[in-house]
Assembly symmetry: C2
Homo-oligomer: 435 residues x 2
């Protein structure tokens, strides 16, 4: 009977702050990092399960500690049995009667639960020989609802609602899967838009993004209004009138100042305004959305769990829901998030970038189209062009579209050389930077 024999956690950090990649009004100097988990089964014929939590550098060690602690909660039973009951296993980790005080369902411990759950999904997908999105798309409605935690969702989404949606999603599924495998899924890019870049670099990258086939670019804003106006004007000049431009304030504004600032940028035809204020401020997002209508509001990369997403939807606070692959409690909770979005008719455009987030989150959009929303209208996956070279199965883009992942697993496996090089603080990459 196969059992988990080891849960190895490594603190992996990339020195991205040296290039100002990823800089915005709030995250001024991130070192893109991964609290990286390898789950080992005691039978060597079984695949390893890999998962990661993305962080901004300092604090990655806290998430590593949390993953070790959550992994210690794993039931010591037959792995095959656990993989057949991932809803139950997830419940045991997320709702542990002592551990939950530290959340519940938020912050470092919740992200850690997500990593452990995702590593199990990685094993399950590899055993099935499928990329995660296909494993999910090929699952029955009953199998899918069995992994979802509907607690604190009943007033918006029940198990029966979800079953009905997923059953409807079986119709035409094979055609949609074939379409995804042939044509992929639209991407947009934040690459040109970091605040640390000069105007010239931003314009050059924006033109390159158009040439590469992206239909939208995103610019970081909210440092200074005059700068935002100048950069948006230059970006619009660079990309022309047909390409979308979204802006991202990274939580910077007060609720009562956001509308004035955003409306002062209205002339630039904004496709959305992202994270205008605190991700905790559901009522604030709703107010801002009313005050900037018809400019759409997007948020989600820092939304802690399905219960906050539920309220953002109930309050009509968002036009675009941006799930993140490593903030919530893993694949299970993101299935809940996709179902919620579909129930309220709000498109999901996942957050990516960071390290590994493109590799991970693409699976949810592909699955969403195959079975849940069944639409690609107004839907794109974020794309940022860095750090993919460290992954065993890096994302593949063609003409601004994500190509359907084909490698078995969830996509989190980092090349062992990269792990060794950038282990913090002792890896040779960091040693040589200090020298």
């Amino acid at each position: 009977m196969p059992r988990i024999s080891a849960a190895r956690v490594t603190d992996v950090r990339f020195p991205t702050s040296l290039q100002l990649d990823g800089s915005d009004a709030v995250n001024v100097d991130p070192d893109y990092s991964a609290a990286y988990l390898e789950l080992v089964v005691d039978d060597p014929s079984w695949p390893r399960g890999y998962a990661l939590v993305f962080t901004g550098g300092r604090g990655n060690e806290v998430v590593c500690s949390a993953i070790e602690s959550v992994a210690a909660l794993l039931p010591g039973r037959d792995v095959e049995d656990m993989l057949a009951n991932l809803g139950e296993v997830s419940h045991a980790l997320v709702h542990d009667s002592q551990f939950r005080w530290i959340g519940p369902e938020k912050g470092a411990t919740h992200m850690a639960a997500g990593a452990v759950i995702n590593a199990l999904w990685d094993i399950k997908a590899k055993r099935a020989g499928k990329p995660l999105w296909r494993l999910l798309a090929d699952s029955s409605p009953e199998e899918l609802v069995d992994v979802v935690d509907f607690s604190h969702l009943h007033d918006a989404l029940t198990r029966d609602d979800a079953l009905e949606m997923l059953r409807a999603g079986q119709e035409g599924k094979a055609e949609r899967i074939a379409e995804l495998e042939a044509n992929g899924y639209a991407a947009y890019t934040t690459g040109p838009g970091w605040l640390g870049y000069t105007d010239e670099k931003m314009q050059r990258l924006a033109r390159e993004a158009v040439d590469a086939g992206f239909g939208m670019i995103k610019l970081k804003v909210a440092g200074n209004l005059a700068d935002d106006q100048r950069r948006l004007r230059l970006a619009r000049e660079a990309v022309g009138s047909e390409i979308g431009i979204a802006i991202d304030a990274n939580q910077r504004w007060e609720v009562d100042e956001a509308a004035d600032w955003i409306n002062a940028l209205g002339e630039f035809d904004l496709w959305w305004v992202e994270e205008p204020t605190s991700p905790d401020d559901i009522l604030g997002h709703a107010r801002i959305r009313r005050e900037i209508s018809p400019i759409p509001v997007a948020t989600g990369e820092a939304v802690q769990n399905r219960i906050v997403f539920k309220q953002l939807l109930q309050a009509e606070a968002i036009d675009v829901m941006q799930i993140d692959a490593t903030r919530v409690a893993g694949v299970n909770e993101n299935i809940a998030n996709l179902l919620l979005a579909a129930k309220f008719g709000v498109p999901v455009c996942p957050h990516a970038g960071g390290v590994g987030l493109c590799e991970l989150v693409q699976h949810f959009s592909f699955f969403d189209y195959a079975v849940i929303s069944r639409s690609q209208e107004k839907r794109m996956i974020e794309y940022v062009d860095h750090l993919h070279e460290h992954f065993a199965a890096p994302v593949r883009l063609r003409h601004g579209r994500y190509q359907a992942p084909t490698a078995p697993g969830i996509g989190a496996e980092i090349l062992s050389d990269s792990v060794e090089q950038w282990t913090y603080p002792a890896g040779p990459g960091w040693s040589s930077l200090r020298a």
Copy 2:
């Protein structure tokens, strides 16, 4: 120039799960625990700063790890200078540009920031020779607003609003302080109400609570409706008609089932219903409050930060606001929480119990009466009678009222023998339990 020379963190756990003290519908087997911090100044004439984060047992080690990491962010500057600028120091810890991704402002890392900030307040209060509540009450309105982080509060509370409130609070302050020192502050007790207790033990403890002078008791509910009805009937028989009874569901209900359950208990004259659903569900609390009116709704012990409290108040979701001493970012954020409650005219009845929470949170109610709300109407501090013997300055109750704390500091110091005995997992207390 005095500097911080060490930040010692200890994992202290008490085996309370053996007695079913503290059991409720969700927290079935807590081992009341403290992630315990000792800040040492390199000048031996300076006092040590102590702080703790309360947890339920498993996971305490994650908070310990987080405290170590947050303490490492402390600026290496003159401690005297830091104590004179605790708003700025708090901002540096809570909004660290890399660390914040793990929150922002929630979960293990936010609790850890609170511990580090509180340990600095402990040093500051001891240097001033005052208990925290007197240090705060004796501070000028300008000094107080300087420590508050008003970010993401502006639509409900500005620095100017707060200054105006605190200036008004100076009038009659000396008389209110004298009154607090003479008469203390009302307490209620949860001691009789744990779900793990038999009916007989609950009734006996309820009668003892009345005899001890408490004006209200609180019962844990939400395991089973028939049990709740029976226990409430027995509790009402035990305490008579003049004593308040509140109930606490510890987040157990779905939003759309809470009202039916609560209204089925309406005959027992409930003083409030606590945590009817997820602490993240602002809209859910608002709906439940509308549906059970006039039964009051209380929440807050698991509310992650001031931004969620702001919305609970804006949404008219709560009648009673229950701040917790070790979940938010320390004294600073709880001053914000008190100001918010006063702005919306909602009474604060702090959460206590756990380990050390009575010792810590009493200071906020005393300060609130002295300077902010200036009212004790409908206000009480929770009290649970266990683990006080481990504290250097345990709470003092007389006739069901907290007596004004007099020992300098914030109240978090645990006796060194207790720390040693219950250090987890190596302390002799745990060794002998395992034997």
